[in-house]
Symmetry: C2
Amino acid sequence: MREDDLLSHVYRRSSDLERAFPWVEAGPGDDCAVVRVGQSRVLMKTDQLVEGRHFVPGTPVAMFARKAVTRPLSDLAAAAGRPIAALAAAVLPPAWRGGRANEVFDALSSVARGFGCPLVGGDIAMTELGPLVLTISIVGEPHAARGPVTRRGALPGDGLYVTGRIGGSFGEGGLGRHLAFEPRLAEAAALADVLGGRLHAMMDLSDGLGIDAGRLAKASGVRIEVDAGAIPLAPEVQGVERAIRDGEDYELLFTAEGEVPGVLAGTCVTRIGRVVAGSGAVLVTGSGMVEISGQGWDHGAR
Amino acid sequence: MREDDLLSHVYRRSSDLERAFPWVEAGPGDDCAVVRVGQSRVLMKTDQLVEGRHFVPGTPVAMFARKAVTRPLSDLAAAAGRPIAALAAAVLPPAWRGGRANEVFDALSSVARGFGCPLVGGDIAMTELGPLVLTISIVGEPHAARGPVTRRGALPGDGLYVTGRIGGSFGEGGLGRHLAFEPRLAEAAALADVLGGRLHAMMDLSDGLGIDAGRLAKASGVRIEVDAGAIPLAPEVQGVERAIRDGEDYELLFTAEGEVPGVLAGTCVTRIGRVVAGSGAVLVTGSGMVEISGQGWDHGAR
């Protein structure tokens, strides 16, 4: 079973959501949901971290706790949001009780505070069998001027951009960048400050540039062309093909109209392609075009 | 390990939360957290449902999906809040993939909509081993006039009240009221409408009247006296002692000053005791007083 199949099912089920519940501005299918509470708009996101799936057993607590918190924060960055607070839920198998449970919650709390997104509540359940599971749910607020950025606004004529460098995030023995990435909250805020309404669509790269560019294209009803030679490769990655398939980059992928700064909050921004009319996501190489929207890391299939 | 030990650890860690993050109005330790987003106050709650722990294997999907959604809604009711939206995260072992996963999400979505709290996002992870885990996180808004109700406002002189009837919720073969309870959202809203500022403190009964009354007493810095003869027993329960220990009632326990209606939104309200100066929670019987704040259902110990 592919995660996307189930997600598609969920999206179909929710297609009338914004009509039936007028306070819902964006439902399933975006990096964050957007709802109205009183006069305010609120961003919501939940993400699970499963031992053996999102981190290898034996990974230090401080590292996987960091990832549990930074994954949903990366989605908040994709919406150009600011963190407000987080909830932490944990399923603890026998190896993770007592002092080790305190250690996990201390680490979660410390990371969350560091990102200005304090833990304000949680839930604990014990199991006899199975992996440690941490579920972090966050609430944020949209950028005051730009409002929430979604995957849905890309327009033909936009440039396609990525922050940082991509590929090879799993690293040697699973202890690579995927554990230590910086959610691009400051970069996204700076983008929204500088570009305002010219920032059309954004998402974070979690499952690989191929799959994720395909999702952005689909959400916006456009075609995305990625120039093979323009992709900024991380030093760990061997070649463009791997960079497209490797997941867990947690960089921002966005489309914008007009000029875009080359550096945002100290992070490089690279133009890697363009938005055109049509559908799908393709890699443009010297020898032609290859469809890449099926290439990436599927959490369900693995 | 007791859940309360870990929770106490988390609370100690968060004692400076409201000072360090001024937009946090209530952090860990209450039924819902309260944060400010722009001009609005937002209630937040997360709750996990673990197969084999919160429902017996073989329970129909519609029943456990309902419980997954109604548990956090019961906490929202305890704050006198109104639902806005929910996020659903699922850990799926091999037996719960494909069509059965669709069935779970359909059931969650349908229940959530029925309570005016639509699913607006989610996350799915697969495991090879371990139970099905559903984590529902909800956002709500406080009562417009009364604001968020917490556990912290009980005052000596208040009456102590409970909605509905308590005890025996597990039922025959585990298919009892704990799966089918009605979160007391309408009752709580009516209470806040009628009592306003006279509604001093509220929580939902999830771990047994003994433990939960003890928690309310501790949070408010008061002593709670429960009259044994006044407790409205469910027909399934055998005696007052069991009613105090049985968990998962999901009724409201609240303290208020002055007159309180005997029926709210069609549900009976019973005065079962009083708030006095001091600490702890005691049962008042014909033969004396018994401390009950240690009596109940600990999710961690079982």
